[in-house]
């Protein structure tokens, strides 16, 4: 009797199961899993949106499918693109979002909202800004790097490990956007002819608008100021004008940063940024002997001086544009008292800040040669 009852229930469940799957069927072969999306702002005010979808169909020769559409919103564009393909476009596997410079400069707010709101889109997708036109970069095929979408993804992933660009996900970006004590950043990439894509420094945002940039040669200095990291490389040209060449390559860098806030003169805040950098020298062109402690200390000092100068330039740039991409505001907020912080117009305070950076460089080792 009991067995019979159990069988009945099983049978019922078995009948119900296929009924259940009818509505929302997803057959993997029929899905267009969007990997990369690009957004550009057209002069007409419309959005130019492109998507890149890796091809799984063995019968086609192409490695990926690229679709484009111009529309007023990203979801509308998706519907238009969907009309051009036999596959069902889904956003669950998006890895990268590229924003064209024009759009980034006019503000990303609404477009980010569309990405955040959609539960099918992961909050871990990478955000980057393209120097120039994002659609062109994505639509192009690079002969040496088949499948542009994957190429960009791998490039961003690897470069962010070496700190030449920051790793910025949708989550990081919106967190910095909502936090009043810090402004967001995003990596910049650029198309070099039709042959390759390269990273091109860091885009600095004021709220949701891209306003300034850090050049590629300074991006590691920016990383020093931004926070703690392990693993990085920097090549420093110490050549003084009119003297022989002196270049040092600093590798396997680990760096930590501290920010101290105190009351400065004229009511402005005094900020002290302390950076400790340790690394190995694997390439050195110059006259100093690294095995001599005194001369090595001299080199450390000169490298610190160099980084100090670049750091001051970066801080100057941010003060000039009223930006706080380093997150100094968070430390000020935690220091001054919450009521005071709310009263303070932080953005207006930035140019008045007295920022002082102190950089300590330590050469951990200098390879296997004296």
């Amino acid at each position: 009797m009991k067995l019979k009852k159990k069988l009945c229930v099983m049978l019922l469940l078995l009948i119900m199961l296929p009924l259940n799957a009818c509505g929302d069927q997803r057959v993997l072969e029929d899905l267009g899993l969007i990997q990369t999306v690009s957004y550009d702002l057209l002069p007409s005010g419309q959005l130019d949106i492109s998507v890149s979808i890796p091809q799984a169909d063995p019968e086609t020769t192409s490695q990926r499918e690229v679709l484009s559409a111009s529309a007023n919103s990203s979801k509308e564009a998706k519907m238009m693109m969907s009309r051009k393909t036999g596959m069902l476009l889904v956003s669950g596997q998006i890895r990268n979002v590229l924003f064209g410079e024009s759009l980034a400069r006019s503000g990303l707010k609404g477009h980010l909202d569309a990405l955040i709101r959609d539960p099918s889109i992961s909050s871990q997708i990478k955000i980057s800004v393209v120097d120039g036109n994002a659609g062109e970069l994505l639509r192009d095929n690079y002969a040496q790097h088949p499948r542009t979408g994957r190429y960009i993804d791998m490039l961003l992933e690897k470069e962010s490990q070496g700190q030449t660009i920051p790793k910025v996900t949708l989550f990081n970006f919106q967190r910095d956007y909502f936090d009043e004590g810090v402004d967001p950043i995003a990596p910049l990439i650029r198309r070099q002819d039709s042959s390759y894509v390269t990273t091109n420094g860091i885009a600095l945002f004021r709220d949701d608008k891209h306003v300034a940039r850090i050049e590629p040669k300074d991006s590691l200095v920016f990383a020093f100021l931004k926070g703690k990291f392990r693993e990085g490389e920097i090549s420093i040209d110490l050549t003084a004008p009119g003297e022989s060449k002196e270049i040092v390559m600093f590798s396997s860098i680990t760096s930590s940063r501290k920010i101290k806030v105190s009351q400065g003169t004229d009511g402005a805040k005094k900020i002290k940024i302390e950076v400790n950098i340790t690394g190995s020298v694997l390439e050195y062109l110059g006259d100093l002997r690294l095995s001599d402690e005194r001369e090595r200390k001299l080199l450390e000092h000169r490298v610190s001086q160099y980084i100090h100068k670049r750091a001051d330039a970066i801080i100057g740039l941010m003060k000039e544009n009223k930006l706080d991409n380093l997150g100094i505001g968070r430390y000020v907020r935690n220091r001054v008292g919450f009521k005071q912080w709310q009263k303070m117009k932080w953005r207006e305070e930035i140019p008045k800040l007295q920022v002082e950076s102190s950089i300590h460089v330590k050469i951990k080792d200098y390879g296997k040669f004296r």
């Binding site: 929302d24 890895r95 989550f171 009043e180 919450f338």
Partner: protein
């Protein structure tokens, strides 16, 4: 009738599992919205209040010497007053159960099968719940232990965020930039509800169970898990962004990804079905305990069947996630009232009964 009594360990886990519902996904948002900076601290005083409530219930347990609360009520209050009360409270309980399940389904549908009729999923969950109910309380408690082990490890995932955690994001300020803290208090309290069902467990426990201690420990596990989760959320996400998120826990889980596949957090969401099923089953069970007092001659499985069916029918009505949240809130307030008024009433009755006996 001889039946197995609950063990202390199973009871502890049962209480924890009843408390764990869909609320885990959104509690950090509530903390940020109503309490602002360091809102995660708010779960601690509220948890202490719950502990006091459990203490209150333990007085009833001691004074009543383990008698069922229904027996105590019926001894002093005429049945015609109690019958409507029993029916009303069982309606509240079955509604809480079915709405929690429906809320789970609707959230689930944001990620998967968005256009399938939610009631299809609801039906399957209810079938599962009914099958579990017919096995009796002892087996429910054993099943919940299995489910417990399949979900508790998710807490370890919080270690994953050590790299992203920033102390300066926590800020040194406590409860600044928040909203209406009184409302917040009730909202967070709702996240703890479920422990009050231990009042119905009296006749199923014996001395060895140490029922009230078990309830307290279960609640403390829940508290610890809330504290860790909220602390991590505030340090990783920050209170400003938390205010904007509906389900911060899901975004946290999104951090975990494997190189070949994204979005495994959606699989994790499935694990929470276990905790939801236990919540649902226990509220239905409680409703059954109450209705069998009114219709003692009907077989208990028929009670459960009717409760599941009525609850299933009622859950057709709310269709929107926000409506369900409002309903659950109202029912939660009623339940909070029950959690405090009932033990007080019982203590008074017990004292009166004791006096009568003495005379």
């Amino acid at each position: 009738m001889l039946r197995e009594k609950l063990s202390q360990f199973h009871t502890m886990i049962l209480i924890y599992m009843i408390q764990t519902g869909v609320y885990v996904f959104s509690i950090a948002q509530n903390e940020a919205q109503f309490f602002g900076t360091n809102g995660w601290l708010s779960v601690i005083p509220i948890s202490i209040l719950v502990c006091l409530n459990i203490y209150l219930i333990s007085i009833v347990y001691r004074l009543g010497e383990g008698r069922s609360i229904f027996d105590i009520l019926e001894q002093s209050i005429p049945k015609f007053i109690l019958v409507p009360f029993y029916l009303a409270i069982s309606l509240v309980w079955s509604l809480i159960g079915c709405l929690v399940a429906k809320q789970y389904v609707l959230i689930f549908q944001m990620f998967a099968f968005p256009t399938t009729n939610p009631m299809v999923f609801k039906f399957f969950i209810d079938v599962l719940a009914f099958l579990l109910l017919t096995k009796g309380l002892y087996n429910i408690s054993k099943a919940s232990t299995v489910f417990f082990w399949s979900t508790i490890w998710l807490n370890l995932l919080m270690l994953y965020y050590v790299g992203e955690f920033k102390l300066e994001r926590l800020t040194p300020y406590v409860f600044q930039d928040g909203g209406n803290m009184v409302e917040g208090f009730f909202q967070i309290y709702l996240a703890y509800l479920g422990y009050e069902l231990c009042m119905l467990l009296f006749p199923y426990a014996d001395k060895k169970t140490k029922l009230m201690k078990a309830a307290l420990y279960g609640h403390l596990i829940r508290t610890a898990s809330y504290v860790i989760m909220s602390f991590v959320s505030f340090g990783v996400i920050g209170h400003e962004l938390l205010k904007q998120m509906l389900f911060p826990l899901l975004d946290l889980l999104a951090y975990i990804k494997l190189p070949f596949i994204e979005r495994i957090e959606n699989l994790f969401y499935g694990f929470f079905l276990f905790t939801t099923v236990i919540t649902l089953v226990m509220y239905f069970w409680a409703a059954g305990e109450s209705t069998r007092r009114v219709f003692p001659r009907i077989k208990i499985n028929v009670h459960y069947f009717c409760i599941t069916l009525v609850a299933f029918m009622l859950s057709f009505i709310p269709k929107v996630l926000d409506t369900i949240r409002d309903w659950i809130m109202i029912l939660g307030y009623i339940q909070m009232g029950f959690a405090y008024v009932m033990p007080l009433l019982l203590i008074i009755l017990l004292l009166m009964q004791r006096r009568k006996k003495a005379v």
